[in-house]
């Protein structure tokens, strides 16, 4: 064990500063014992200047008889102790110097590590942004490939697509008529009237004996079908007018069965629809008949 550790025993963890101060305290004690030793000599006790210094230092002047050998021995012992303390002190000073240098290096490294940490965080943010952009791009690309695959499988011709587009536009089911106002009964879904006019209501009527709605749809011939469809179209295509059969259901009535007259329109030729539509004031209806 090094001499410092021996000397300080369990107090190894004391800082260098403490150790140096402890060494200085010991040096002070050594000097005090040296001075008291000197003070014990009769020759010194007799000297008035020495007396005044010693009394200022608060060292009692008590001449004690002492053998010269003892005196010498004591002086030599004290001198040796002093030398040892000197060596300790210089070692500690060297240690302190080293510690200071290490501290400076540590500070520099801390600054460097902070700078690098900031760089890493900045890179991390950029990486995250890039990941987000890539993820959204990937998602969009995946959706695109899915639609492409579906379109390939569907094998639709342009003709069919246009025909269907015409079908859903001509009856204003996909977009509103340009002269639509609140209060206009037309809707993007089959209304009550249409629901009651279709085949489903009549089916349930016959099967389960449900009381018919207030305005029973009359049985129709093929021609009559077209005429009645025209009536319904009239109520849907133009501004709402009172038809010969007053249909006074509100939309909050509980319709018994789902029914759509639009089916009948599909079943019959499309010409009546187109005729009705072209008689509209609307200009968005397609006037180019097939």
């Amino acid at each position: 064990m090094d001499p410092l550790a021996e000397r300080f025993g369990e107090a190894k963890e004391l800082s260098t500063k403490h150790k140096m101060l402890a060494v200085l305290d010991e040096v002070e004690l050594i000097y005090e014992s040296l001075l008291s030793l000197l003070a014990s000599q009769p020759a010194v006790a007799a000297d008035p200047t020495a007396n005044s210094y010693l009394s200022a230092a608060k060292i009692p002047v008590n001449p004690e008889p002492m053998y010269p050998e003892e005196f010498e021995k004591a002086i030599i012992e004290l001198a040796e102790l002093l030398a040892e303390r000197q060596i300790d002190f210089t070692k500690l000073a060297a240690n302190a110097q080293k510690e200071v240098e290490m501290n400076v290096a540590i500070q520099a490294l801390v600054v460097e590590s902070d700078r690098l940490k900031e760089q890493v965080i900045a890179l991390q943010l950029r990486l995250k942004e890039a990941e987000q952009v890539l993820a959204s791009a990937l998602h969009a690309a995946r959706q695109k490939t899915d639609t492409i695959k579906a379109a390939d499988e569907a094998q639709l011709t342009l003709d069919e697509i246009i025909r269907y587009a015409h079908r859903i536009s001509v009856g204003f089911s996909a977009s509103a008529p340009p002269n639509w106002l609140p209060g206009d009964p037309r809707r993007p879904y089959p209304t009550d009237l249409e629901m009651r006019a279709g085949i489903l209501a009549r089916q349930l009527d016959n099967n389960q004996g449900i009381p018919p709605p207030q305005n029973q749809i009359l049985p129709l011939t093929t021609d009559g079908l077209t005429a009645t469809t025209r009536e319904y179209l009239g109520s849907n295509a133009g501004p709402y007018t009172m038809s010969p059969q007053p249909l006074s259901q509100t939309s909050m009535d509980s319709p018994k069965t789902p029914v759509t007259a639009s089916l009948q329109r599909e079943a019959s030729a499309e010409e009546p629809d187109v005729e009705m539509m072209s008689s509209d004031e609307s200009t968005t209806s397609s006037s180019d008949d097939e």
């Binding site: 879904y189 629901m195 968005t284």
Partner: protein, 131 residues
């Protein structure tokens, strides 16, 4: 005078009848008030009904979709596959909200077109009746 409905029901091919019935029903799903009615009467809770809704998804295929006049119904059909949507529909506020949004969306294209016609001052008559 032949009575068409009975002819449909008795003499016609039952497959054709079923086709017509299912076509009508699936399109009625586009009506939020009707959906509210179904929800309030507990139809949307029945397992058989839910299975039927799942079965009806065949209307999305191109060979069937060409008969659909109200394409909104297919969106609602998809939504109806989810339990949460079916539960919410019992609430009349929900049905009214859906109706409002649906009608507003329906008007969206027309409104845009009107605005475009106004701003470009096209020679066609641009009706300024914005609903």
């Amino acid at each position: 005078m032949s009575i068409l409905p009975q002819r449909i029901l008795t003499d016609e091919d039952p497959q054709r009848t079923r086709f017509q019935v299912e076509l009508e029903f699936v399109q009625c799903l586009a009506n939020p008030h009707y959906l509210n009615f179904l929800a309030q009467h507990g139809y949307l809770k029945e397992k058989s009904f839910i299975n039927y809704l799942k079965y009806l998804q065949y209307w999305k295929q191109p060979e069937y979709i060409q008969f659909i006049k109200y394409p909104n119904c297919l969106t609602f059909l998809d939504l109806l596959q989810h339990e949460a949507f079916r539960r919410e529909l019992a609430n009349p506020t929900c049905a009214r909200f859906i109706d409002d949004q649906q009608v507003l969306f329906w008007q969206h294209y027309t409104r845009q077109r009107n605005t475009l016609l106004q701003t470009t001052g096209a020679p066609e008559q641009a009706k300024t009746t914005d609903p």
